[in-house]
């Protein structure tokens, strides 16, 4: 859908550009280029944000070196904290992260209502080893661990409670009767 929109917008921009010789002014070209630039930026944002906001299973993750690697597992020693019996949300935060507090609140609220779910907040600057090991490129990035610490899925950017609950449901479908999202 975004592609169609972009095509439409660039068609409009193309029409604008073809008017230019008649207008005889560089101003119109520049204005059209600005419109194209902002439309492309909006399209890119729309596509990236939509994709990033979902919890993606790790095996579909496109980054190399992550799939099934022995490092794709976090132990309670790594986190110096006990893992959740049902699942553990590991959030990578940083000092310059505007969205992190919102995500932290969502996950914290979830641990209050969902038994066996633990939330761990990692200050990325302090744990660059984990940042590199798990190919974290932006904050907030949230990993969802299964009870054994294996990374089940991950997401980044703003997070809604519904998305987090859905990811939990994916993790342990047999215990999801209470969830209606």
């Amino acid at each position: 859908m975004a592609v169609h929109q972009e095509q439409h917008l660039s068609a409009v921009a193309g029409t604008l550009t073809s008017l230019v010789p008649a207008a005889g002014s560089g101003l119109v070209v520049r204005a059209a280029l600005i419109v194209v630039l902002l439309a492309a930026a909006s399209g890119a944002w729309w596509a990236t944000a939509g994709r990033a906001a979902r919890f993606r299973p790790l095996r579909h993750h496109p980054l190399p070196g992550l799939q099934r690697a022995p490092g794709a597992r976090l132990t309670s020693e790594d986190l110096s904290q006990k893992l959740g019996a049902r699942g553990t949300f590991v959030q990578f935060s940083s000092a310059t992260c505007a969205t992190c507090p919102q995500v932290r609140r969502v996950l914290k609220a979830l641990t209050a209502t969902e038994p066996g779910v633990v939330q761990v907040d990692i200050q990325s600057e302090d744990r660059m080893d984990l940042v590199r090991r798990f190919s974290v490129y932006r904050t907030p990035t949230v990993l969802l661990l299964d009870p054994h610490g294996a990374v089940h899925s991950r997401t980044s950017g703003p997070l809604t409670p519904a998305r987090a609950l859905a990811a939990l449901a994916q993790l342990s479908p047999e215990t999801t009767r209470s969830i209606d999202v």
Partner: protein
Amino acid sequence: MSDSPSAPTASARSAGTPKPPPAGIDPRGPRFGAGVTAVLLAVTLLLGTGPAAAALLTVVALLFVLGVTRGVQGTLQGLAFRAWVRPRLAPPAELEDPRPPRFAQMVGLLVVGAGLLAAGLGVPAAVPIAAAVALVAAFLNAAFGLCLGCELYLLQRRWTPQH
């Protein structure tokens, strides 16, 4: 809640060490400021490569300098937001850490400053190129609340050698 600039002045360099978090700011302030910046940058692009464009880009750079040294709430846009915009809005649902947008101001300053430097060295096309890059970031911030500069922080940390 007042958002008086209680941020430690030395925090620009040591943003990595999470000391006491400074007082929160209204998240709509940086977005409003980014909107103003985006308009200025769009006008810069419309002006092309002449001295007028370079002058306007210099104004934008100076605004970024204010943002880096005083935080976004200390820029002219921040002051305008507090004086004229915020009184007309409902109180914010939540406050935001002022450090991320401040870091983004530094990224903006680097981009715009590099453009002006290259223009000064005889590459006039650097002005519209830098303006276009900064415009995308400012526009995404104003329109969608995405802080592109903030996203670069962790990448920069990854590149710097491990201590």
